[in-house]
């Protein structure tokens, strides 16, 4: 039965359009900016009439930034590579450490268990600046400053709590009886974990991994302080566009478009894993 009137339908359409415009306008605008020169971007009033150029993208990819004051070296592609490397490795390490830990927190009650889990979570709400000074001192004495290993380690502060807490919830949602049934059928604990628990928590693991990836990708301050130019990700690398002769809006826009592409692609790909409902109907509620 459909009780929706034409008015309601129209209203719904208008509201959805408004929300879409609100969220997508900045991205569309930045995309348009990335195809313009600084002059056309900054003219008043702004206009949609311009001749698209791809100079901004070629500048980023070749690493040659031409400004009014002369030519400038850019290592945007190196920053891009750093971002990918840091984010992928951080999430991978977090998954390897976090998923078994999440399972332990979900299934076993042990001394201080809740306290440990909460301490890990509290890393998420402590401001990064609070830990940066001691961290940079430790990193110096440990020789970890400006290394990938050091950054990946620090990125665990971002990724690990996220993965731990999201995946834990998914493990808790799996009926222990399902695991018991698999063990009684003749499988060891480890086989049960691999063949039952992990596959059933897969939507959660995918969602947590994706979120952790985005947070790691967007991180700015850790890499700003603990690494120098050759190890810094795009977020920090974008500072290079603020040059002596002015801000290169066109290149910034192009850099943004390039840098959001991986996370966007990943989100679209992982979407199907994010759809829940895999475990529906297996256990009588």
């Amino acid at each position: 039965m459909d009780h929706t009137s034409t008015f309601e339908k129209t209203l719904r359409g208008v509201l959805i359009t408004l929300v879409l415009v609100f969220f997508l306008f900045p991205i569309v605008w930045i995309f348009l900016m990335s195809l313009q020169t600084n002059e056309t971007i900054l003219r008043i009033p702004p206009s949609l009439a311009f001749t698209p150029i791809i100079d901004n993208y070629t500048a980023l990819i070749t690493g040659q930034l031409r400004t009014a004051a002369g030519s400038l070296q850019l290592n945007f592609m190196q920053n891009m590579f750093n971002s990918v490397l840091l984010s992928v490795c951080s999430v991978a390490v977090s998954l390897v450490l976090g998923v078994p830990a999440a399972y332990a927190f979900a299934r076993f009650k042990f001394r201080l268990g809740e306290d440990i889990a909460f301490t890990l979570l509290s890393f998420r709400f402590a401001p990064a600046l609070l830990v940066l000074l001691p961290l940079s001192l430790y990193f110096k004495s440990l020789g970890l400053t400006n290394t990938y290993v050091g950054l990946i380690w620090v990125y665990q502060l971002i990724c690990l709590p996220l993965i731990l807490w999201i995946v834990r919830g998914y493990f808790e949602d799996i009926s222990p009886d399902i695991e018991h049934a698999y063990r009684i059928a003749g499988n060891s604990w480890w086989q049960t974990f691999r063949k039952i628990s992990i596959p059933l928590a897969k939507p959660g693991i995918a969602a947590a991994g994706l979120l952790a990836f985005i947070f790691a990708w967007n991180n700015f301050v850790f890499a700003l302080i603990l690494a120098s130019a050759d190890k810094q990700p795009v977020t920090v690398g974008a500072l290079a566009f603020v040059t002596a002769s002015g801000i290169q809006y066109g290149q910034i826009a192009a850099a943004i478009i390039i840098s959001i592409t991986p996370t966007l692609a990943l989100a679209l790909y992982a979407q199907r894993y994010l759809v829940e409902g895999l475990s529906m109907g297996a256990v009588k509620g």
């Binding site: 018991h180 059928a185 895999l278 109907g281 256990v283």
Partner: protein, 359 residues
């Protein structure tokens, strides 16, 4: 041969004692029903035997060997869970195949095994379906098939008919005994439905208050309940009771029900003077007599093949009588009748301990 034995088994969670000092033996191929209300620890008992939980103390032996240190996967038991616990990401066929695969059976053996048990349980047409595409009845059969597939020596069935509809439950109650006999396994079957227990069991172990209060054949449980509690659990409508005392005089032994003396078997003489609870099963109440306990019919409720009468004595004691619906002249509401109690369905219990007195 004793296939499964449980000796002084106890389980507690913190200070909460679920049960204490359970003893039970089951012979090979025997069907033992664990019967009890909710929260009595029936499911926990099965989990202990399966090895997915550890007892606080006591010994579980399978085939004569203590299994305390044996992991669940090596105990050789099959278990069907009340909530089915099917693997949602595997098809029905793969669910059933799990124990066969775990045992390392060759692919053709796995297929043959799955098909055999699926045919037996009439789910061979839904083997390719995922659990969420199955009806509750099919899920229940799939769970049962999975437990049966590897032909375990011991089969633990945790109220498998709880979550299926009434029609299927009735069918399965008839089908299951044959199926379970065919499997040859020693079966521990948990239920809180007394009809199911009576229909399936070789022996029933009644779990209440953390103990087995009686372990006996269905007939014994019904005809010779150990306690008032057991007598109340079996029978629908349940046993009529009245608090009274046993008295003896020259005419014999009697109790007083609603102000009227009712003669009981002379064997109770030894207990004369004791405070007791008198119990009589509704189907042992005869209302066609022309003398006995005077009562008025308050209500008549036909229940298919039986008709239940609610009766009240002049002094206000209410009791039920259950007659075959085919019986001649069932009294109308308002009719005055005399009730007599058949000896076989009459039990007298100690009011303090609830234990049945032996007449």
């Amino acid at each position: 041969m004793t296939q499964l034995s449980i000796t002084s088994l106890s389980k507690s969670y913190g200070s909460f004692k679920v049960f204490d000092g359970l003893n039970l033996e089951a012979k090979a191929g025997e069907i033992v029903v664990i019967f009890g209300g909710s929260g009595t620890g029936k499911t926990i008992l099965l989990r202990l035997i399966a090895g997915v939980e550890e007892p606080s103390s006591g010994v579980i032996a399978i085939g004569g060997h203590d299994v305390s240190d044996i992991a669940p996967e090596h105990r050789g038991v099959g278990m069907a869970f009340q909530n089915f616990a099917l693997f949602p990401h595997l098809s029905a066929a793969e669910n059933i195949a799990t124990p066969l695969r775990a045992a390392g059976a060759a692919e053709d053996k796995v297929k043959a095994g799955v098909n055999k048990v699926a045919k037996l349980l009439k789910i061979d047409h839904v083997l390719t379906h995922a659990p969420r595409e199955l009806s509750n009845g099919q899920k229940q059969r799939t769970a049962l098939a999975r437990a049966l597939a590897a032909e375990p020596q011991i089969l633990l069935l945790d109220d498998p008919l709880r979550n299926v509809d009434a029609k299927l439950r009735f069918e399965m109650r008839l089908e299951l005994p044959r199926l379970l006999r065919q499997s040859g396994a020693t079966v521990l079957y948990v239920t809180q439905d007394y009809k199911e227990a009576m229909a399936l069991a070789d022996r029933i172990a009644v779990l209440a208050g953390g103990k087995f209060v009686q372990t006996a054949t269905p007939e014994d449980i019904y005809m010779r309940p150990a306690t008032l509690g057991v007598a109340r659990l079996f029978g629908d409508p349940s046993i009529n009771t009245a608090e009274t005392s046993l008295e003896a005089d020259g005419a014999g032994v009697h109790v007083t029900l609603g102000g009227t003396r009712v003669q009981v078997a002379a064997d109770y003489k030894a207990h004369a003077g004791e405070a007791v609870t008198f119990g009589v099963r509704p189907e042992s109440v005869d209302v066609s007599a022309d003398s006995g306990l005077a009562a008025e019919v308050v209500a008549v409720t036909p229940l298919n093949e039986r008709t239940v009468l609610l009766l009240q004595t002049p002094s206000g004691w209410e009791f039920l009588a259950s007659l075959p619906s085919s019986a001649a002249d069932i009294p109308e509401p308002g009719a005055k009748v005399f009730a007599r109690f058949a000896e076989a369905g009459t039990h007298i219990f100690d009011r303090q301990t609830g234990e049945r007195l032996h007449g």
